[in-house]
């Protein structure tokens, strides 16, 4: 599944300062759908190169990290249970940087 991931607010520093990543992620074996939960563990394993604790806490994002799925707050689509589709755009923004 083709997805576009964008990191902002300083989170890009955790993935070699690259803000936009075009990636291919497939549902786990035996699963039909890809959820945000799957995507997060994929991101952690494949994109985050340092200090993963700045990005995740437990199996979700760290509090203070905003997630938008196709320009929409993921709190509206079920957070970790949000189902992803081909060509979705997922944005992660840290709010924890200076003002």
């Amino acid at each position: 599944m083709q997805l576009t991931l964008e990191f902002g607010g300083g989170l890009e520093l955790l993935c070699e300062s690259v803000k936009i990543h075009s990636v291919n992620v497939d549902p786990q074996v035996g699963e039909e759908k890809l959820t945000m939960k799957d995507l997060l563990s994929w991101v952690r394993a494949n994109l985050i190169k340092e200090r993963p604790e700045m990005f995740m806490k437990g199996d979700s994002v760290r509090p203070g990290v905003l997630v938008l799925v196709n320009d929409c707050d993921w709190e509206l689509s079920g957070q970790l249970d949000t189902t992803l589709e081909e060509k979705d755009v997922i944005v992660f923004i840290s709010t924890l940087h200076g003002g």
């Binding site: 607010g9 203070g64 709190e75 924890l96 003002g99």
Partner: protein, 370 residues
């Protein structure tokens, strides 16, 4: 809101609870309302307008400096204030005021952001530098004193630099971008260190009315989540209308002062974010708690005089900046550090982490004292 959170298997469209027409794009932390982008700009801006009006933050004809760091809060503040000033005829002359601490790589980049904001919003910019004011850059100070205690310098010098810049601009007031999360965090830190004087001051929306330049915080009740999401949603909209490249999104700079990892403050911040996740109202509740802790009149507050050397407000013979400078200039940089109670107390720095690693965990140092 009575409606429980909808958790569709597929990310289905949720209707905006304000206009009932468009698809909701975010959930407001303050009210849990699910609203669309257009309604969000409207309520976001209107709430700040209400705060400005209800608290009489400005008077017609005033000159107002916006403390501009290039970060998200001050960038959004500059944008929103210039919009509201036009829309509601505040009659204000707005200026951007930035401090150049002289931190290579960090401040150069964020100052570039502020310079772009100057053009984008058409607000005149004034930059005051540590080098000009004090004869020392932050880089030089760190070279002299090492990474320990440098936040004492940052905090004291920045505060005074903003006041001096504001005096040069001849403004009536300084508006800063401190948001609700910042204030909640400061309430918590002041409780943790038993600083009653600052605790009772830090929730005031206007401070320093007896000093040279009063300061105000139009974002006192504005959640950080909304400040961060505002430029995102807003500019994507704008993109459809304008194409000029640099205005792709409200342009802000998002890495930290490399000299200020602030581990202690970072933990307080994280605690607040954890609380917010469980109960978004917690942030406002902490601010309200802070407001209730008004200092009793019997407690003695230090008397304010002026510094014999530079004329800045001070309760001592010399102001803190002059004491620190004297130490630097005489090669005794420890002078003035850690003696005054309530002045940083070493809380602000955890220097072990700060080997020039860009840090995204914490706020700038020196912001504890508004």
């Amino acid at each position: 809101m009575g409606e429980a959170e909808v958790k569709p298997k597929k990310a289905g469209p949720v209707q905006c609870s304000i206009c009932s027409q468009r698809r909701a794009a975010l959930k407001r932390p303050k009210t849990l309302e699910q609203i669309c982008r257009e309604c969000f700009y409207a309520v976001f801006e209107e709430e700040i307008h209400r705060v400005v009006v209800d608290n009489q933050l400005f008077k017609p004809g005033e000159r107002i400096a916006i403390g501009a760091s290039g970060g998200k809060d001050s960038t959004v503040l500059a944008y929103v204030l210039s919009e509201l000033n036009r829309r509601h005829n505040y009659g204000l002359d707005l200026f951007l005021l930035s401090v150049d601490e002289g931190i290579t790589g960090y401040r150069d980049d964020s100052l570039e952001t502020v310079k772009r904001n100057e053009i984008q919003y058409g607000l005149p910019l004034k930059v005051v530098s540590y080098k000009d004011l004090y004869g020392w850059t932050m880089d030089e100070i760190v070279k002299m004193i090492g990474l320990k205690n440098n936040c004492t310098f940052c905090g004291v010098f920045r505060r005074q630099a903003l006041d001096r810049g504001a005096a040069m601009l001849k403004v009536d007031k300084l508006a800063t971008g401190h948001n609700a999360d910042d204030i909640a965090e400061t309430v918590l830190l002041n409780i943790l260190r038993g600083d009653i004087a600052r605790l009772s001051r830090c929730t005031s929306i206007i401070t320093g009315e007896d000093g040279p330049i009063p300061r105000c915080k139009p974002f006192k009740y504005t959640y950080e989540k909304e400040i961060v999401i505002y430029p995102y949603s807003f500019l994507q909209n704008l993109n459809r209308i304008y194409t000029y490249a640099y205005f792709k999104r409200l342009d802000y700079f998002s890495t930290e002062c490399i000299y200020s990892p602030n581990a202690y403050r970072g933990f307080a911040r994280e605690f607040i974010k954890d609380l917010e996740r469980i109960r978004p109202r917690a942030i406002l509740d902490i601010i309200r708690s802070g407001e209730k802790f008004r200092i009793s009149t019997s407690a003695k507050m230090p008397e304010q005089g002026t510094c014999e050397r530079c004329g800045y407000i001070s309760s001592q013979k010399w102001c803190k900046a002059c004491v620190l400078l004297e130490g630097l200039n005489r090669g005794l940089p420890k002078l003035g550090i850690g003696r005054t109670r309530g002045l940083n107390n070493g809380l602000e720095c955890d220097t072990k982490q700060s080997n020039g690693v860009k840090n995204i965990q914490s706020k700038q140092c020196g912001t504890l004292d508004f």
